[in-house]
Every structure is written in C-alpha cells, then in structure tokens.
C-alpha cells in the first residue's frame, strides 16, 4: 500500500510540476530560452508558450484518471509472465574485483561479502575497450560496440580527422531570424544521440514495464520511453564543455592551466571583486561572452559572497551550496546555471574556486531528463544536484586549484546527492526496474590510485582513501538491501576494474618513429588535433584512449592506404612491430594489439578504430596522444594526480557482478545483463542482442 500511494503521489507531482512550470513561465524565464552550448539560444514566443503550458496542464489533469486506469490494466497484463516484480541495478563504476575480493577477505566489506555468500559473486567480463561509455552502452543494449556505435569517449571526423565526443552532438539552430545585429533563433539546436540499438528499459517500456534510470553513462540526450531517466556522462556544462572550472585569484600572473580558466580578482575597499564568464551570447553579432559580476566582502572572521542579490558565507575549505547564476542575453532571454564556490586561500593571496557551471535542473537549458520535468521534480524534492556528465572535478585537482580534501568533499557531496535520488527511486519502485550508477568509485580511484602502489605513511590522511571509498559503497549496499524482497532481483555491477597509470605511451610518436606518420617540414612534434600532420604520406594515426586507425583511401578524406590486401598487410606489420615496443627498464608497455574487426561484428564496425591497444598494467595512452598530438618522446612518466586508470588490455580489468540470485554462468559478460533483465520479466530477448540471459 505504501508503494501504491507513492506511485499515485508521483502522478500528482507530475501534474503539479506541469502547472507550476506553466504558471512560472514569463517572458524572461529560462524555460523559454534554450541554449545549445556554444550554439546559441533559441527564444520562443512567451505568450504562445504560456498558453500551451496551461493547455497541457489542463489536459494532463483531465487525462489523469484514464491514464491511471489504463496503466493499472496494462501493468497487470505486462507482468503476467514475469518471474520477478522488481530488478535493482546498483552500478558502482570502476569497482575493481581484485581490491573487492581482498577487502571482502579482510572482512572490510561485510554487506558485499554476505551478498556473495548468499547469492553470487563473479568477475564480470568487460568490453573492448574497457571504457565506461563503451561498457555501460553494452550494459544498456546487450550488444557489442559494433552494434551500439560507442567505441571510445571520442571518435573522429572522416573529413577533418578532428576528434569529437562519440555519444552526443549539439548543433546550431537551423532557423534564425536576423534583426539588425540580433539573431533570434526560431528553432532549438538539434541534439544528436549517437548511441545506437535499443536499451533494455525501452524494450521493457514497450511491454508496459516501467523503469527509473539514474545517471547511467551515455544517456544524454535523454531518450523517450515508458519510464523516468536522468542523463549522465556527456551532459555538457552551460558553456558547452565537459566541465571546466574557474579560479578567481589576486595572483593572476602566477599560473597557467592546461584545463579550466583563471580570472583576476581585484582588491576593493571592502574586499574583492570579480566577474564570472558564462556562455556565449550568440543572439547578437560577435557572440560576446555573457558575464555576471560578483563581490566578496570581509566579515569579522570570514567572508561573504554577493552575487545577483544573493549573499552567502564564504569560509575557507567549505563549499557553498549550489548558487544559481542567471545570464541575460541581448534579446532579453535568461539562461540559468548553478555553481558551488570554495574559498581556497586568503593570505597573502586570495583565491576562490568555482565549479563548472552546471545546467540548472529546475530550469534546464538543455534536456536533462525524461520526462523533461523529472529533473525539476528531483531538485524540488531533494535539492539541487550536479548535472554535468563527469561532475567530480578531476582537472581542478590535477592543476592543484583544489587539494585532495576538497576533491573528496566534492566527490562525496555528489555521491550523497545521487544516493538520495536512488533511495527515492527505490521507495517509489514497486514493480519494474530501478537502476543507478555511482561514479564516485571511478573518480576516487583515478585520483588516489598512487596510494595503492607505494608504502604510505600511517600519518598520511589519504593513505586509506580508496579503502574508505569501498566501504562507503558497501554501506550504500546496506541501505539498498531493505528494498530487496523475495520478488526482487538485485545486481551490483561495475563496468571495469582499475590499475595504476605510471607511464604513458604516445602511439602517434611511435607511428612517426616507424615511418607510418609524417609531419610537415620534417618537424618532429605536432600541435593537438594533428596540427602539422602531412596526411598525404601518413598511413596510420591514433586518436582517443583506446585505439588507432589506418588512413584508408575513400574512407578518410586524405586516405592513402587501399582497403583490402594493402590494409591487411599493413595491419599485420604494425601489430608485429608495436608488440615489440620496450620501456627503459625492459618492461613491455603493450600486452596485445587487437585488430578490431576480429573482436566483434556489426553495422557500425566501420566507425571503430582499426586497432585496439591492450596496454599492460601501469601504462596507458598519453594525455596528449589521445587528442592527436605527436610528442618528442614515445614513452613518458605520468606526473598527474590522476594516477589510476583502466584504459588497458580489457582482460586485465574485468568488473564485478554480485546478485542475490544464484548465477551459474562461468564467464558472464556485461552484455548479458540486458537480456537477463528482459528474461526475468518474461520478455523474450530480441535476436539482435548478443548477450545471453544469466537467469
């Protein structure tokens, strides 16, 4: 009965939010302004939107009893063949089987250990390559990358060889009205979702079985289906980047950053003054940057931030809550974002860190959820939350703008936001699927893995950061278990494991040294994005974290290698040579070079790298090589705080699979979970799915 009331409550909240959204609309509301990051704003007629909003609200109220009755009837029919009432997927990104097994044996993960003893624990085979966007796409669809089209974080333009985000593309509005110097977009910027095939929650939805899908990577833009979804990885910030921080400081001359931006903080009579740079205003010629001024006033023992009429205390080492920023465009539209500030130093210099400008879930400038008001519902119910795809600011720690403690505070704050959402989904899911992926486990291992590879001082406050994180994940399981009854199938899943990242390999530099890649004017180094590469002589090039490509005629714009025999011979030659690459201490950086066509088959294989590099533990592709830079050295040290990684031979980094059900399969893979979910609900997995049902 409790769950039933919750369900009715959710319907009522949907209607209430629709009414509030309509009534709240006014000519300058963010809901009327639509930003495609870096692509401009589309400003729609306010009156029309207000009328349409009220009409839709009224229609929704009138339809509500009929919808409820239809849903109840359909639901009864949908679950007739089901063997479970509910499936819970608890995704713990990057949870490593070796560390998990060790800590379970040491008694440090009692809830996971009990789940393993009473149900199942197995290592879970991951995808080639072992990257989150690839593996979670396979989790969702039950197919290999050649069928869902996500092979890496990045893919490349065949025309320009330039890298692009592989999963989503935000374009320019197609219809724009020019009035003098103003450009008024008359349509929304198109957002193209590049992941193909169908996720299991869409198939279940078609059968009347609903799901709540929270922050599963590669769900931006959100797809329509019979259920609720909050987007994750690849969701941009308000500037259109993947999350770029700002630092405001009085010591402006002292540093430059590879990532993020540094802005001056001026000393004023009562404190400091600065200016926040937001997105571009593409509604006016020249697309100036939208800005918001702010001041920091001294208080007796602390400081106060004053911004757009808001005041909030600023104490060293303490993040502020989410602060709403409203940027006003030249044509009067407003765009809303959210940031958190952290005062990082006060004497002799004064510096403030500002998080990336997250899209505001209550006034989203880009779609964040399905249905569109689900993000607003969560924010109203639980408070604002981080919306950018990779919300933990790893670059701010890499650059030393925040310290380890500040990074951990931020990561666990995001974890708590998500935990609240997950528990709300568990409360309201009586039947169907509740799935949530937590990124904390991945990000903390990326940034603290160095502590796993060296003797740490017992006094070092960060010596046990990774172990403590695993224990937090175990405690999360403890909060999940009360929602698991005899009709529930629970799966705790990670997409890959982890290992150290000590040395970096620049495949582009190796290709240059071995006569496969040439630079113009005999240069030895190139800029990023292949600046200075002589494509007329280049036969192979590397881009992204996992693989590299041949420069094939009639495929790439300046291709020189004929497909067929020439390409096949070249592939074998490169594989043979690259496997012999040695490091200074005799170590072998590359374990296996995989020819991608031998790994999987599907309609999108042509978009895949021709090779996937299986790095040995301790190695990864270099930072600059991933974006098409040819460096002087092939091998180099990794000096960054980002010291753990999983971009290695996928055989070395399987994920984990726990369940309260007994699973007998010997070699379960992440592609098996989608057909398992369908099968448990009595839905026949479709023929295109490559995974096999485990239950």
């Amino acid at each position: 009965m409790r769950s039933g009331r919750k369900r009715i409550g959710w319907e009522a909240i949907q209607v209430a939010i629709a009414i509030l959204a309509a009534l709240h609309s006014h000519p300058h509301s963010t809901q009327l302004a639509y930003i495609g990051p870096g692509a401009g704003f589309a400003f729609f007629g306010s009156f029309l939107t207000l009328v349409a909003g009220l009409f839709m609200s009224l229609l929704s109220i009138l339809q509500w009893p009929f919808r409820m009755a239809r849903r109840a009837l359909r639901s009864r029919k949908s679950f007739r063949k089901a063997r479970v009432k509910k499936i819970i997927f608890l995704g713990l990104d990057g949870l490593d089987p070796r560390l998990t097994e060790r800590m379970m044996a040491e008694g440090k993960l009692p809830n996971l250990a009990r789940l393993a003893a009473e149900g199942t624990y197995k290592r879970l085979r991951t995808t080639f390559p072992a990257l989150s966007p690839v593996a979670w796409s396979t989790f969702a669809t039950g197919v290999s990358p050649a069928r869902h089209n996500i092979f890496d974080f990045l893919d490349r333009s065949l025309k320009s060889y330039q890298p692009r985000l592989s999963s989503a593309r935000v374009g320019q509005p197609e219809r724009v009205l020019r009035l003098g110097r103003f450009r008024i977009p008359l349509s929304r910027p198109p957002i193209e979702f590049r992941r193909k095939s169908q996720p299991f929650w869409t198939i279940l939805g078609n059968q009347g079985i609903g799901s709540t899908i929270l922050r599963v990577p590669i769900t931006f833009p959100p797809e329509k289906f019979d259920g609720k979804m909050l987007s994750a990885m690849a969701t941009p910030d308000l500037k259109g980047t993947q999350g770029s921080f700002s630092q405001f400081t009085t010591s402006i001359e002292k540093a430059t950053y590879e990532n993020g931006s540094r802005y001056p903080l001026r000393r004023a009579a009562d404190g400091f003054a600065g200016e926040i740079e937001g997105p571009l205003d593409t509604c006016v010629d020249g697309a100036p940057i939208l800005r918001i001024p702010f001041r920091v006033a001294r208080r007796a023992s602390s400081f106060e931030l004053r911004i757009e009429g808001q005041r909030c205390p600023l104490n060293r080492g303490e993040y502020t809550g989410w602060q709403r920023l409203t940027f006003r465009t030249a044509i009067g539209a407003k765009v809303s974002g959210m940031v958190r500030f952290l005062l990082t130093e006060t004497e002799p210099e004064f510096s403030i860190y500002m998080s990336p400008i997250n899209i505001d879930p209550e006034r989203p400038a880009l779609p964040l959820s399905h249905p569109p008001y689900y993000a607003a519902y969560l924010a109203n119910l639980l408070g604002s939350f981080a919306t950018v795809g990779m919300a933990e600011d790893t670059w701010a720690l890499n650059e030393g703008v925040i310290d380890e403690d500040a990074f951990l505070k931020q990561a666990y704050s995001i974890f708590e936001e998500r935990e609240a959402m997950f528990l709300d989904a568990l409360e309201s899911t009586r039947r169907g699927v509740a799935a949530c992926v937590f990124d904390t486990s991945d990000r903390i291992q990326h940034m603290f893995y160095r502590n796993m590879c060296r003797e740490t001082d017992a006094q070092d406050p960060h010596a046990r950061v990774i172990e403590e994180m695993y224990q937090r994940m175990d405690a999360l399981l403890a909060k999940t278990l009360p929602f698991v009854d005899s009709g529930t199938a629970l799966f705790v899943v990670s997409d890959h494991g982890f290992c150290a990242f000590r040395r970096a390999v620049n495949i582009n530099s190796w290709l240059r040294d071995n006569g496969y890649l040439y630079l113009q004017n005999g240069d030895r180094e190139s800029g990023s994005f292949f600046q200075g590469v002589d494509w007329s002589r280049t036969r192979a090039y590397a881009l992204g974290l996992s693989g590299f490509y041949l420069n094939i005629k009639d495929r790439e714009a300046c291709g020189v290698v004929s497909s067929g025999r020439e390409a096949d011979e070249l592939k074998h030659e490169i594989i043979g040579k690259l496997a012999k690459l040695g490091d200074q201490d005799g170590a072998i950086p590359i374990r296996t070079v995989y020819e991608t066509a031998s790994l999987y088959r599907g309609p999108y294989l042509e978009a895949a790298p021709d090779f996937i590099v299986g790095y040995n533990e301790g190695y990864r592709c270099s930072w600059e090589g991933a974006v098409g830079k040819v460096a002087m050295e092939v091998l180099s040290d990794n000096p960054k705080a980002w010291s753990g990684d999983h971009c290695v031979d996928p055989v070395l980094v399987p994920g984990v699979l726990f369940s309260n059900r007994r699973i007998d399969a010997n070699d379960p893979g992440i592609e098996d979970l989608a057909p398992t979910a369908l099968n448990l609900f009595g839905v026949q997995p479709p023929a295109w799915m490559e995974g096999k049902a485990l239950l």
């Binding site: 025309k159 985000l165 974290l545 974006v627």
Partner: protein, 61 residues
Amino acid sequence: MTNIKLKKDLLSKVKKVAAAGGYSSPEEFIEHVLEREIAKLEDAQSDEEIARKLKGLGYID
C-alpha cells in the same frame, strides 16, 4: 519523428537486411544509411569549437 513512405517490396528488403545486419529495427538501418550519406556533405567544425567542447573531459589533455 516524421513518417516516410516506402514501397512494400523495398520495406520487406529493408526489414531482412536490418535483421541480418544486427540493427535493432528497420528504422535504425534506414537512419544509418541516410546519416552516412549526409555526413559526406557536412562541413567540418573549427578546431577552436572542437577543443572547447572537449574541454574538461577528465581523460584527455
């Protein structure tokens, strides 16, 4: 979504090819074929635009 009419014979072939190719629906197959052709005609983005959109992605410089 906009509906496009196909001749019955062609639709029948589309369904067979889509199923054999590993597509999840005939619509996905048709979209893929069209996207591939349209991509040949599209302009490339500027380097500056590309760099800006990728900024902040933890894994790359």
